[in-house]
Amino acid sequence: MPIELLQQAAANNEWLAITPELMLGLTALLLLVLELILPKAKHGLIPVAAIVIQVVIAVSLALNFNTAFSGTDTVFNGLLRLSADGQFLRLFFLVCSIFVCLLGTVSLAKQRMPRVEFYHLVLVITAAMMLLAQSNHFVMFFVALETVTVGFYILVSYFRESPLSLEAGLKYLVMGALSSSLLLFGIVLLYGVAGNRGLPGGSADSMNFDQLRGFLEANPGNFLASVGIVLVLAGVAFKIGAVPFQIWIPDVYQGAPTPVTAFLAVASKAAGFAVLLILTQRVFTPYQNLVIPVLAVMAGATILFGNLAALTQHNVKRLIGLSGISHAGYLMIGVIAAYREPLAVGAIWFYLSAYLLASFAVFGVMAHVAGSNDADQELDHYANLAKEQPFLAAILAIGLGSLAGIPPLAGFMGKLLIFVAAFKAGLYPLLAIAVGGVVISIYYYFGWIKAAFFPSSLPSGGEPAPVATRVCTPVAGWVRVALIVLAVSSVLLGFYPGAFGQWVLAH
C-alpha cells in the first residue's frame, strides 16, 4: 500500500510542469544563502543575481511558450490547469517582478533597510501569483492567494521607519483579512452546497473548479450557491480595488514603498483579473444572470469613483492609486464583455501589458524623484523636471500619455480593444461611462505632465511659488536602459503590436 501510494503521488505530481515557479522559489532561497556566504562588500551582487536569473527564466519561458502545456491539461491531481493564458500570465508576472527588483535597487538605496529580504519576498510573491493564475481548485487558489497577500503585508510596511508605511501595512492587513474572510465564507458555502450528494451534480471534490461548474450547471438558481458566488466575487473585488471595496487603495498606495506600489498596482491587479476571468468564464458561467449585473454595477461605479476621486489629488502616489481604480473598472468591462465576445479576453491581456509598460515607466521616474521620505511625493516636486532631468521628464510624459490613452501609444490601443469588445457585446451604457471616464482622466494625467514641463504657475499673490526640494538621484546605466525599453515598447506596441497582437487577436 505505501509503495502504491508513493507511485501514485509521484505520477500525479508533475513537478516539471511548474518549472518557472520552482526556479523562482529556489532563487529566492539562494538569495538568502548568498547573503550568508558573501562578504558584506559584495552584497550589491545579490539584486544583480536576482534580476539576471529572472531574465533567464523569462527568456526560457518565452522560448517554450507553446511546448510547456502541450499534452496535459490539468496537473497535480487537478489542482493546476495549464493553458496559453497561464503561460502569458507567468511571463507577465516575471516581467513585473524584474522591473520591481530594478526599482527596488533605486528606492532601497535611499533607505537604511535590510535589502535581501525585499528581493526574496518579491520572488516568492511572483511564484505564488503564477500558481494563482493557473489554479483549478479552491485549495490551491486560496493557499496561493494567501501567500501573495501575506507577502504584500510585509512589503507594504517594509519602510518601517516611516509611520505612513506602517499605517499602510496595518490597513492592508485589516482589509486583507476582511476580504479573505469574505472569500473563504463564499468558498465554504459553495463547497458545502456542491458537496451535497442529495442534489444533482453534487460531488465529493466540490472545490475542484470543473466539478463545481458541473454542479452549478445542474442546479441553476440555487440560493446558497448564489450567495457563495457573490461573496467570492466580493473577495476578489477587494484585490483588484473595485468599488465598493476600494477604500484601502489610496492610503496603502501612498504609504507603501514606491516599488511595492508598482507591484501592487500592476501585478496584484493582473492576478486579480486572471482569477476573476477564471472564475467568471470557467466556473460561474451557468450563473451569468447573477454575475453580469453585479460586475456591471461595480464596473460603472469603479470607473466613475476612480476618475472623480483622482481629480483633486496632489500626492502622486494617491493619484496613481485612484486612477488605478478606474483602470480596474475598464478591465471589468472587458471581463463582462468576455461572456459574449471572445476578443475581450485578448483585449484584457493587451490592456494589462500596456498598463504594465506605462505604469513601470511612471513608477521608475517616481522612484528617482522621490526623496528619503517615500510617502511624500507631491505634484510640486515635479516642477521644472523637464529642464533639470529631460530624460526622466520624457519617460514620464510617454508613460502618463499611455495611461491616459493618447492615440499613438499602447494604452490607447488597449482601451480601443476593450471598447471594441464592449461595443460588440452590446454594453452601451457601460461604454458611455467608460468614455466619460477616459475624458476625465486626461485632465489629471495632463496636470501631472504640466507640473513636470512648465514652471508652476500659481495665481500670483506676489509670492513666488514655494520651490519644493527635490533630491533627484542620478539614473544608473541599466535602469536607464530599462526605462528606455519601457518607453520605446509603449510607443511600438501602439503602432505595431506584431506577434503579440496576433496572439491577442487570435484568442
Binding site: A9, G25, R112, P114, M140, V143, A144, I154, Y158, R197
Partner: protein
C-alpha cells in the same frame, strides 16, 4: 442523550461567547474565549469530527488564546476608558437584531432538516480520519503544502524585517 448533550454544549458555548463580549477585564474575556472554543470543540466531537476537535483545542485554545493572554498581561490592559454611547451603536444594534430575526425566521421556514432528502452515501468523509487526512496532505495536496512552507518562511522573514533592531544597519550597502 446526544440531543441533551448538544443543548448543554451549545448553551455553554453561547454563554461563554457572551462572556467574551461583556467582560470588562481583558484577561477574563480571553479565558471566556478559551472556554467558548472548548465548547465548540465538544460540539465537533458530537458530530464525530474528532480530528477537527483536537486541532481546535491544540491550536486555538492551546496556542492562540495563550498568546492573547500573554500579550494582554504584557501590555497590562485593565479596564480602559468607557466610551460614550454613540448613535451609530444604536443603529448597529437595531440592524444586527433585524439580521438575527431574519436568520431565525429563515431557519423556521426553510431549514426543515427532516424535509431534506436522505444522504446518498453513508460512508464517513475521507478526510475525517487522521490517516486518510495525512495521506491526502502528502499525495493529492502536496503542492499546496509546499506552498504553505514558503508562506510560513516569508511570514517569519517579515517578522524579522519588521522588528529587528537597526543598529549597524548603516553599513549595509
Amino acid at each position: 442523550m446526544a440531543d441533551s448533550l448538544f443543548y448543554l454544549f451549545a448553551f455553554f458555548t453561547v454563554a461563554c461567547a457572551v462572556g467574551v463580549v461583556a467582560n470588562k477585564n481583558a484577561v477574563n474575556a480571553a479565558m471566556c474565549l478559551m472556554l467558548c472554543l472548548m465548547g465548540i470543540a465538544s460540539l465537533f466531537v458530537l458530530l464525530d469530527a474528532y480530528l477537527l476537535a483536537a486541532l481546535l483545542v491544540l491550536v486555538y485554545a492551546g496556542a492562540v488564546v495563550a498568546l492573547f493572554l500573554f500579550i494582554v498581561m504584557l501590555l497590562d490592559m485593565q479596564g480602559g476608558v468607557k466610551r460614550p454611547f454613540k448613535k451609530m451603536t444604536a443603529v448597529a444594534s437595531v440592524a444586527s437584531l433585524a439580521l438575527m430575526l431574519v436568520g431565525v425566521t429563515m431557519i423556521k421556514t426553510r431549514g426543515q432538516l427532516s424535509s431534506l432528502p436522505a444522504p446518498v452515501g453513508t460512508t464517513a468523509p475521507v478526510g475525517a480520519v487522521l490517516k486518510n487526512y495525512a495521506e491526502l496532505l502528502f499525495t493529492t495536496y502536496l503542492l499546496p503544502v509546499q506552498v504553505i512552507g514558503f508562506l510560513l518562511l516569508i511570514a517569519m522573514l517579515g517578522v524579522i524585517v519588521l522588528s529587528k533592531k537597526f543598529a549597524g544597519m548603516g553599513d549595509i550597502k
